[in-house]
Amino acid sequence: MNDLVPIVVAGIAQGVPIFVVASGLTLIYGVLHVLNFAHGGFFLIGALIVTTTLQGPSLAAFGLSVLLAGVGVMLIGVVSEVAVFRPLYKAGSTVSFLGAFALFLALVGIALLIWGTNPRTVAYPEALNGSFDVGGARVGQYDLALVAVGGVIAAGLYLLLTRTSLGTRVRAVSHDRTMALALGIRVQRVSTSIFAIGAFLAGVAGALIAPVSSIDESLALSSDYMLPAFIVIIVGGLGSVPGALIAALALGVLESALFRVAPSLSGFSYYLVVALFLMFRPQGIFGSPSRSTQMAR
Amino acid sequence: MTAMVELRAASKAYQGVPAVQAVDLEVQRGERLAIIGPNGAGKSTLFGMIAGEHRPTEGSVWFNGKDVTTHHSSRRARAGISRTFQVARLMPTMTVRENLFLAALTGQRQGIRFWDALSTRPDVTEEAEAAMVAAGLADLSDVLASSLAQGARKTLEMAMAVVQKPTLLLLDEPTAGMGYDDARIATKQLGALLEERREMTIILTAHDMEVIHSLAERVVLMANGKVVLDGSPQYVADHAVTKELYLGRGAS
């Protein structure tokens, strides 16, 4: 029992940034049918913005930096959608995927040019530097804060998708793009909005992990965050936000448990799980069977 | 004598929604069978089960007295089943000539090998050229399939299916997407071709009664995933059930 609580909290804390990245990815996939490889670049730039904008150790300053990172990356996201993805949409999803890949390389290159190659670090906000005693085990305050932020973002996305008109349009477009067009939905505007939201979330996620990770270019495709995010959206079902949430948390906890029980196996669990899913349930937890198997082989 | 194609209580459901329900069907060697029915009747699914794209959820499919239920479509193609699709499927980056070369090559059923250079197969080239001329596509020989007009696409796909020398030819809506005049010309050409190759067994789906009357000798009417009528074109065309299905209740 004493072991269990920290394992679960650490696992969820690990899963939250992954979920935040993955939710944007999966939303974009749902609407644009593009696996947005450039998300790694957004994530990296989010973290780097915090290293530049953070002033002082107060919680408010940190919160402001996180917000700035989100907004900054959102702007980059909107520009990329208009400049890169819109012209490529007609060319089909292969070309869009490659466009995303090119954008990824370009963003990482630009980030290197601006921030250099030296790894950077950010201190924990002072108020969250300590740890609590939960059920006889020590749990980091920052980890708990991450869990709370993840809950807020999940709830926000749920409300956005179910209670707003944008949410309705997003669901319509991801369900059937042609039909949505026929119904008079401005699909292009929905695409841009969803790209903006996805990029904002990626920037926020990058900012949130800034204090817990060393920040350099490898973050853009790190095996701690970005690769698991790709895996999470496949396991959760491409296009499904709840699927991404469940998969991110479950995999986070699994990984953190493995780290305690069998450290030599840690790092492999994501890959093992995604391989099993792709082989036996390629549509993921919440995906419809058709979407993933529809593609010709 | 065993039937060429036999479906035994074949059913197919998509995620629990039935598309074809327990269909029994026998097609004899050399028969010309048309499958008709309103949209959603299950014609295409039935076709897919014979060609191998769809595996029945229940029941079995037999070809030349062999159970081929679990055989995938490429294996059935090698056993002698060729098909066209409702919307013609071609190799977009290959020219008309290359498309036909590929079909003639796979039609020889000798397998595909690294040590077989394309240029050392004059027999295949010859066959493909002959098919191209016969189909009236000689003028378009070096045009990419992706830039062909709708009618030419259908003609090319048909030529590809025929050059494979199938024993069973499946034609899915051979005149779909054509204008009235084109469709009539295509039907006439097809009729002449099929007359030449009496040994081929034909199963086709169609909406157009003219196509059915000129190409088919037996007609199966499907509705809601089941076979409703089975008989001569005249019998099915005149039957009250057909009129009701196509024209709505009260029309008969």
């Binding site: 290159g109 198997t293 | 490429s74 493909a128």
Partner: protein, 355 residues
Amino acid sequence: MTTIGRRFPVVTRSGVHVLIGFAVVAVLMPVFFGGSPLFTWTTAAVWVLFAMSTSVLFGWTGLLSFGQAAFFGIGAYTMALIHENRPETPGLVMLLAAALVAAVVAAVFALFALRTSGAEFAILTLVLAQVLWLLTYRVSWLKGEDGFHGLFSVNIISNPLTSDLDLWYYTIAVVGFCVWLLWLLHRSTAGMAMRAVRDDPWRSAALGINVRRVQVCAFAVSAALSAVAGALLAQGQGVVSPGMLSFAISGEILVACLIGGMSRFGGPILGAIVLIWSQTLISNLLHDSSMFVGLLLLVIVIALPQGLVSLPGRVRNRRRASGPPSIPPAPTGSLADESVPDGSPVSAGDEEALR
């Protein structure tokens, strides 16, 4: 293609012109270059082979792999391990062993991974490379970050390579031979089947082509030659490290293919040379070339989707006609959701349909 061999039937049929081309380059290059530029050319030659082998999968068969580094790395590590245990093994035997190991791994992997397609398949290949990369740190005899050093003293046939010039001749000979093999594959019925599978797997299956088998074979061939490239690089540079399995390598080789364009046989060759030389030159100027590579790729994907090899044709078209240039459709394979013939979704049980 039936149009092959129209002009010079005997030469193109046997691919003699490919061999002659490489022989000319092999002889001429040392005349104009020496020292460090010649070494860059040697590296570029290795990347030419790597790019060509990637193109077998990506350009010819339409399978996008984000983990080509896996096979590149398998080749390098296989070579390093053989060298460690039996240093007297001839270099060419090491290359052969590397190719075999990679081909077997690739075929087994492909049998499972090809249950998926498109973007998911690409992610699975990425996962394979990532798992191998992780393994180099976890398995003690793979030596983690340190990797293997001092692999220079490889016996090619009987004597070790002693100079940059020897290395150049050796590398270009191996690369030329492998590219020649690929030329033969490209012009064989198997090569045509690969293009057919890329163009339309459904039509291919309906023609009787065993789609799954063609894909697995393409994967094995691609992996084997990528492994030769990896082993060759290891022999030339004398170092094998986990970096060879990294995503950067997988990404760069795709960039090389895309820059050159894969609608022509020689596209990836051009792409690899452009990539290696621009990286070398820009790194001298700017310290880091990744932004340039990204932006170049972005321009290519948006403005010139057929790659640099399509440039002459475009210019010609623009001059000739005032209308839009007629460029053949992208041969990069379809990752798109392909709808099934009758428009209904293929259920999981129908996966066998196209095997």
